[in-house]
């Protein structure tokens, strides 16, 4: 925020001046096209249309005709503007959202064989394997059980994959980071189901399988953390799940790979070892520089991205509000730092409340752009002490073939015309 008094505030304790009214005006004066000058010259209240009686009340609120906002269906890195039938994911418009909750219809989507149209009256969940009592549940059974609600991010392991090898300068943050979203999910703790079926002692792995055509299936290790936090959700942001997100029931695995959050859940099988399905061998494994692949890298790492200003936006010299989102599969975001000089110096951003564990957290910082070319970048730290890596160190460790689990810092470059572009670092 712009401070309202004339005192220079030293907020970061490093002697670096933060914005005050006096230096804000100094920064604005003489810079052509600054926001304040533009606004002052633009309009009169006389130009605002008069009040009038509006549309009839309706059964459902639609977005304003003036709001143009949607996901973008895409395929593998570099494959955009494709026919929807060739899309493998659909990305969230991070640059057009506020706060930390993603509207249900804009939550990113990754589906492996289309979105099935499941009738909840006919849908069943089979729980079996190394258990004392194999059981079948329907949606009403789940709704009758004790429920929890939790706000968590879900992130596709492919998020960020556009930037492994090169940076297309024309990408928006929706293109680079739109495969992560945060919703409030409601459902039954996995532990409750495990108690009902009586898991055998050596049964430490669980195969979760979807009711989509491909029957996507992943082996999940039943660690204490997962047993305590995983749940079977039927609610999404206060309403039944949307079909694209698993209606009528899905697994939610806070902090773990998106594809473990099995949608259209129809089977849980307990066993004493992983099944080595296609998705945990051929697909969601990370090829390293030496040709070996990392397997069962299940947790989503510490991450952040500036959503404004971001790719393809054009800014004017003067005051800017830098804002973005940070998240970590390890826990809670405790700190976000922003550099406006290409990662030479860093300042703490303000972290909005509430910063929930394993959920996206909104951050912001004020900045006056002097009109000279520069680069802006964010980095996050979580409550386990993990710091989001810079790209050079990240690539030095992982190589550039991994395809999944990209969490390097995102740099946006700004040229002398104010145009913001995606760059590697």
């Amino acid at each position: 925020m712009i401070t309202q008094d004339d005192d220079v505030v030293d907020r970061d304790g490093a002697g670096k001046r933060r914005l005050s009214r006096r230096n804000f005006i100094a920064a604005s004066t003489g810079l052509a096209g600054s926001l304040v000058a533009g606004r002052a010259a633009a309009d009169s209240l006389a130009d605002v249309p008069p009040r009038e009686v509006g549309a009839d009340l309706s059964g459902r609120s639609e977005r304003s005709q003036y709001v143009k906002i949607s996901r973008i269906p895409e395929a593998t890195p570099g494959k955009r503007n494709i026919d929807p039938s060739d899309a493998i994911n659909s990305k969230t418009p991070l640059d057009k959202l506020f706060g930390s909750i993603t509207p249900s219809d804009l939550h990113y989507e990754r589906s492996h064989s289309g979105v099935p149209d499941l009738d909840p009256a006919k849908h069943r969940l089979l729980v079996h394997g190394m258990v004392k009592k194999p059981l079948v549940f329907n949606v009403e059974d789940l709704k009758a059980m004790p429920s929890i609600s939790r706000t968590v991010f879900i992130e596709c392991t492919g998020n960020g994959w556009e930037n492994w090898k090169k940076a297309d300068p024309d990408l928006t943050v929706q293109n680079t980071h739109g495969l992560v979203s945060t919703n409030e999910w409601t459902g039954v703790p996995l532990k409750f189901i495990v108690d009902l079926i009586g898991k055998e002692r050596d049964s430490n792995w669980m195969l979760a399988e979807g009711g989509d055509a491909a029957g996507v299936a992943r082996s999940i290790p039943l660690t204490d953390e997962i047993l305590n936090e995983a749940f079977i959700a039927y609610g999404q942001n206060g309403e039944p799940l949307r079909p694209a997100h698993g209606f009528p029931m899905r697994l939610v695995m806070p902090g773990f790979e998106g594809n473990l959050n099995i949608k259209w859940l129809r089977r849980l099988k307990f066993g004493d070892r992983p099944w080595m399905t296609r998705w945990e061998t051929a697909r969601y494994t990370q090829l390293q520089a030496d040709g070996k692949a990392e397997q069962f890298q299940l947790r989503m790492d510490t991450n952040s991205v500036i959503t404004s200003p971001s790719g393809t936006m054009v800014i004017k010299p003067g005051y800017q509000r830098i804002t973005g989102l940070a998240w970590s599969g390890h826990g809670k975001i405790t700190r976000v730092e922003i550099s406006t000089d290409g990662a030479k110096t860093w300042q703490d951003a303000q972290l909005n409340s509430p910063a929930l564990p394993k959920a996206q957290s909104r951050f912001q910082m004020d900045w006056v752009w002097d009109g000279k070319p520069t680069k802006i970048v964010s980095r996050s730290t979580d409550d386990k002490g993990n710091l989001q890596p810079d790209r050079k160190s990240f690539i030095a460790v992982t190589g550039s073939n991994a395809l999944f689990h990209y969490n390097a810092q995102q740099t946006w470059s700004i040229d002398e015309t104010g145009r913001v572009r995606n760059v590697l670092d």
Binding site: P134, V136, W275, T281, G291
Partner: protein, 181 residues
């Protein structure tokens, strides 16, 4: 109500409240027959593989009819995943991940074809046809000879070229995660 039955009722009620789960209230038992309908997963040790068998030669016919339109005539050059070749490319700047160059277990091939392929009609291949297609794809990669054949005994014994190409995340290593202390 007699005082005895009152006491019994109160005791039963207290028990019900104290019990963490009222197990009988949720769901219904799954019968072995219906479990068999859905129990399709196959593990690397062969557990879950059904009876039946298929030859490379038969698999070539099934592949031409059901798979080639997406994966190309010989598992190469189609609009969807390439299935053959790529061995020796994994450490290059342009790795080619195929069944032959990347997949660590042949059992996964059976499981995946059986559950998810062909894309438009998953689950439509018989067990014999699934063995046959798996055999054909392995032959395209030089893993089975042209006169090769697969069944539930031979499939788990195949050692895939990239079997040792995977390193588990140390935090979720299946070999160590649940080791008894």
């Amino acid at each position: 109500m007699s005082s005895t039955s009152k006491t019994l009722f109160a005791a039963a009620f207290a028990l019900a409240l104290a019990s963490p789960v009222l197990a009988t209230d949720f769901g219904r038992p799954a019968t072995p027959d219906e479990i068999a309908l859905w129990d399709i997963d196959v593990r690397p040790d062969g557990k879950g593989l059904p009876a039946g068998s298929g030859t490379v030669a038969h698999g070539k016919e099934i592949f031409a009819d059901n798979c080639a339109v997406c994966h190309g005539d010989n598992g190469v050059g189609g609009i969807k995943d390439r299935l053959a070749g790529g061995q020796g490319t994994l450490a290059s700047n342009a790795p080619v991940k195929t069944v032959g160059s990347y997949w660590p277990y042949a059992t996964t091939l059976f499981d995946y074809i059986h559950r998810a392929m062909p894309y438009q009609a998953p689950g439509s291949l018989s067990n014999d046809d699934t063995y046959a297609v798996a055999a054909y794809i392995l032959s395209l990669n030089g893993i089975l000879p042209a006169d090769g054949k697969l069944d539930r005994d031979s499939l788990p014994k195949i050692k895939m070229p990239n079997r040792d190409g995977f390193v588990p995340d140390p935090h979720f290593d299946p070999a160590k995660l649940f080791e008894k202390k």
